[in-house]
Amino acid sequence: MDAFNSSQPQVDLSKLSEYDKRELQQNLQNEMQKAKIQESIHNLTDICWTKCITKGISSGKLDRNEESCTQNCVDRFLDANEAVLKHLNALRGGNVM
């Protein structure tokens, strides 16, 4: 990625006006949010591929079972995530230290 970095113009942060700084900060937050969502999608794809694509590869498309398995996989993973959090919360609540 050297070529990529060296092609970037040098940017002087001190030249930013207050307004631009604030706007930039908002933009950066959006980008970080986007990156986080992409990361989750990669993670889920990883998990659901392993769960749902169990046969050998005989086509580049998802068949109907694989498609619905993948959709269920995403929803149930998120349900499981919520259930775990809920249970952890309950444990924390029951355990007054």
Binding site: M1, F4, Q8, P9, V11, D12, L13, K15, L16, S17, D20, E23, L24, N27, L28, E31, Q33, K34, A35, K36, I37, Q38, E39, S40, I41, H42, N43, L44, T45, D46, C48, W49, T50, C52, I53, G56, I57, S58, S59, G60, K61, L62, E66, E67, T70, Q71, C73, V74, D75, L78, N81, E82, L85
Partner: protein
């Protein structure tokens, strides 16, 4: 005065552009990494002295399939987070989890 205003907004655009590029590159890299892992696993069960034509064909289909899976997951996941955020979210606005 006008000059420094222009410089400020130029820098802002440059920084934002760089960050967006990095996010995009990172996204592509992750996709390629995982695709490569999974497709190697599926298509090259016992590595020989070179990739056979069959293995190459499998890899091509596998890449398509992995991308299709990624798209399905993406649609499903985004629909889900949109639904839960329009319901006021379940105490989950910081994207906790995963």
């Amino acid at each position: 005065m006008n000059d420094s205003f222009a410089a400020s907004s130029d820098s802002k655009t440059a920084i934002l552009k760089q960050i967006q590029q990095e996010v995009a590159i990172n996204n592509a890299r992750q996709l390629i990494d995982k695709m490569n892992n999974h497709c190697f696993q599926k298509c090259v069960p016992t590595p020989g002295s070179s990739l056979s034509r069959r293995e190459e064909g499998c890899l091509t289909q596998c890449m398509e399939k992995y991308t299709a899976t990624w798209n399905t997951v993406s649609r499903q996941y985004i629909a889900r987070i949109q639904k839960s955020s329009s319901m006021g979210g379940i105490g989950n606005d910081d994207g906790a989890g995963i």
